[in-house]
Amino acid sequence: MIDRVKRKKQNKTLPGPLLLALSLLLIFMWGCGSPRQYIRPDVDIRSIRKIAVLPLETLTTDEYAGEKIRGMVISELLTRGVDVIEPGEVTRVLRELKIRSLGGITIEDIRKIGKRLKVKAVMMGSVGAFGISRGITASYPEVSIQLMILDTSSGNIIWSAWNTAGGPSFWTRHFGTEGTTLSETAREVVKETVDALF
């Protein structure tokens, strides 16, 4: 009987800490999320073992952002056992096909690139943010990327993902601790995005 009363008392004290934990979780989870992605239903995208990664379009003031992210994407794909065509080889084919603007690559171009590089899929995309942004009390890195995989036979988008990372952490904002660097943030966003696929 005494045991039951004790247990009842213990149960009564549970909702408080639980609610507090839930509230803290909500605060910490604010802004967290996995990349938004699309996978074409009729395609087994995970069976792709060889891919060409085209230069990424840079939509930031850092003109090398596209190349920096591209290098990270290639390295992430390689660590997952996906064979990646050498970037130099891709550049050579783009030059041969007289493709000057990355934003102007057509379906026909994709087909030609696929044929010349002997790949069934090419990856392309853009870097929307890559830099240090100023917040209320702190500066923080911000990186956002968009990646797409295109089927070289049809020119269709078979996978697409958009992801972002960065922002001021709780400790940086309130206690001035050192946050993540721009490179760490870039690596995080690339890893998360490629993780979603392979």
Partner: protein
Amino acid sequence: MDLLKKYALTGMLCLLLLGAGCRSSMPSFHVRQDVDFGFIKRVAVLPLNNLTNERFAAEAVRQVVISELLASGLVDVVIPGEVKATIDRLGIKSVSSLNTKQIKALGTALGVQALILGSVEQFGMVRMGNISAPNVTITLMMADTGSGSIIWSVTSTGVGGGFMARHFGARTETMSETLLRVVKEAIRTLAKY
């Protein structure tokens, strides 16, 4: 005392949820009621009109719109390069003022049932009292390539610094997060149909 603690914690939780819910205003949108959106399987997202001082704003928003349309599973999207090449081939100089004939011609050439066009009105930081927060405003429209008329239109806006950020020092969104939220809210109005 226990009861008071419980009420205080419940109140805090409600405040958090309210704060999260109050962060943005609902986008204002128009959908033509006599149109069956089920027939739209593939769309082309045209370059957006940049009405900001940010050089890459329109293209950055366009990429998120393409990604969100695909991720929502609503429609298939033509690759941006194909759209650009077709616009050039048809000799269209400005996509911000397309006439019915041009909309139909683009639809036929790209093999799409609808075109997405629009503009970016705000893309930058704004001051809100003692804080700075990202602010994004976009307008998107869908034009039926069969008739050449606008069948969906939405204006969505968002500010990164919400209630909790302004009053309790909670985390503000980054520009990218605000952008994603604004685009998501805009496309959600289409998903209902």
